[in-house]
């Protein structure tokens, strides 16, 4: 009886992981990454991803007005379009919405726009990690938007290396973020990193754990119909539930 229970539990866990995890993580910021932090991984050349990420109440950062930059009780929604424009370059355009607010003169609210570009400078090899340099929400540094409009600015370098621990595939990433010119860093300030764990028996199953330089986050994800990516996450510091839903297609 114990044995039957053991197998039932094993397959139940396997089923849950199987339907909730996959091998193509896209972070809640819209770029390729873990729960929140970026990694040095990139999708295949020509991949287009359109999606949304739900930021739980209390973790969304206000992007306008007097409380700009502060966490607010309202939830947030990041809607993004991400494209692997070249084999070495990923670009992302995102609108950040705050729930329970309407765009009106009396609210002074308008969804935040941001643009990110990531460049792969080193491919992973047996001994070397993949390395990516990311420019997130830095258009103000190029006089393409106002400095006060940059709510998520960060310039970072991140490295990722894949290895096996017994039969478990682990993809570890570590990075460091800072400002760019007179543009202060507003996300990933300092060291960040995380791991993506894929048990061998569930080759398409992944558990994501990351530290975004402020909070610890954890998530699980799954790709459906080879097109739709879903991720459920617990953050910040494993307190609230967020999610990511994205549709992905190669344009070639």
């Amino acid at each position: 009886m114990d044995s039957l229970f053991f197998y039932m539990r094993k397959y139940l866990i396997g089923f849950v992981l199987g339907i909730t995890l996959s091998s193509f993580s896209q972070s809640s910021t819209g770029t390729r990454g873990l729960v929140k932090v970026p990694t040095a991984r990139m999708f295949e050349d020509g991949t287009l991803s359109i999606g949304a990420a739900f930021i739980p109440p209390g973790y969304h950062k206000r992007t306008f007005g007097l409380k700009q930059g502060e966490l607010v009780p309202n939830a947030g929604l990041n809607t993004f379009v991400t494209v692997n424009l070249f084999p070495f370059m990923e670009v992302m355009f995102r609108y950040t919405h705050e729930a329970n607010l309407v765009v009106r003169p009396y609210t002074e609210y308008f969804p935040d726009r941001m643009f990110s570009a990531r460049f792969k400078v080193l491919d992973e090899s047996e001994k070397k990690p993949a390395i990516v340099i990311g420019l997130q929400d830095v258009t103000a540094a190029f006089d393409a938007s106002c400095v006060g409009c940059s709510n998520f600015s960060s310039t970072y370098v991140v490295a990722s290396k894949q290895f096996y621990f017994k039969e478990i595939k682990i993809d570890a990433s570590i990075g460091y973020g800072g400002g760019l010119g007179n543009l202060k860093v507003k996300e990933f300030d300092g060291f960040f990193g995380g791991v993506q764990i894929s048990p061998t028996n569930f080759y398409d199953a992944q558990i994501l754990v990351d530290y975004d330089a402020t909070y610890l986050n954890i998530g699980v994800q799954k790709q459906l119909f080879n097109r739709i990516q879903t991720m459920v996450s617990y953050y910040p510091n494993l307190q609230k539930i967020g999610w990511v839903l994205a549709y992905r297609q190669n344009m070639f």
Partner: protein, 407 residues
Amino acid sequence: MRNIVYVIFSFFCAVATAQCNLLSELQSEGFENLLLIENNEELELHYENRRYRFEGIALRRVLESIAELDCLAEKITLIIYNKGLPITEITTKKSLINELISGSISATVFNSQSHFVFTTRKKPKQKETQSSYLKTDLAVAARTDYLLGNFDNPIRWTPTLLPSIQTTLAKGTQINATYGVVLFDDLYFWEKSRWRYAFASHNGRLPGTIFTRLSAGFFELTQFGIEGHATKFFLEDKFRLDLNLSLTENRFLDTPPGRKAIDKNHLSYGVKATYRYAPWTTDLSIHYGRYIFDDTGYTILLQRQFNEVFIGFFMREVDRQIVGSFGTLYDKNYGFQFTAPIGIKKHLKPSYLRVKTDEQFFLEYNYTGGVDIGARIYAPGTVIHELEEYYPSTLKKALENYTKTGK
């Protein structure tokens, strides 16, 4: 006994005819301006595609038809037309086509052993099978003009349905007309359903891979007048030089109430140099000129082509400041643009009046602001406007992708 021999003879004749009847096969598939010239060991096939949305798919279909027949010459040259003009030429071997279609060789190998160029051939004097002339396409497109960044209204927009007709009258000569049905106007507050385009164009090809266009009529952005455009290629599609010139008046074809002409005898011009990095089908271009709303400046565009999808990022600077969100002034305008295929991949067969879906959706997003700068005359459906589909590098890449993905 004599009847049995007759039946058997007839059967073998029918099989032999079917095997070698490439023209009938392509004709029944809906290809036009078909011409098959066979000399000794060489076969020359001229065709124009209006059945498939993308030239890469049409080429694949033609190669499949060739591979099905065993009686064709070994050396094969394909000449691809648009509006009755020969544009691109592919010289290859029958055995290579067979191997490509059967999967024995990759498209990369096929491409390296075949020769893709812009053709210098003239259209032969023989009469073509299934002419593309005097046939009309009726399509309906959709578009929306919009503006962001206002607290009164987060997204002001004017969605419009655009029924259009397009006819090729004769070799290189076409007419286009598009009517805009405004669903509602939340952006301009004066827009009405009215004509958007009504122009005639003559497309030509001069010696030395120079494509030309001369158009007259009414164009988008209320431009009424004439325009000319010339495109010259160097080193196949690696370098491209474009010159454009237009003389227009700013007025309507059917004026909405309360609107009137703004300027007359308006001259705009431009020169554009483009470098294409073929392995990534990526273009880097710079355009300098005087645009149609009297601004003078330049636009740098980096654009990647993914078969039918184009994604580009641009930077534009003109001799006036740009008003961005909340009235902020900028010197340069940054943004992106994309062209995506819409509708179905395979249209109905061309006929005297064919209903089809529109082929492409274009959107330009001005990140910084400045929607009224850098505007140029736009002549959709003309040969120069559609040239990227006929680039040797585009056709090669399309074959590689279809081999890889089977799409």
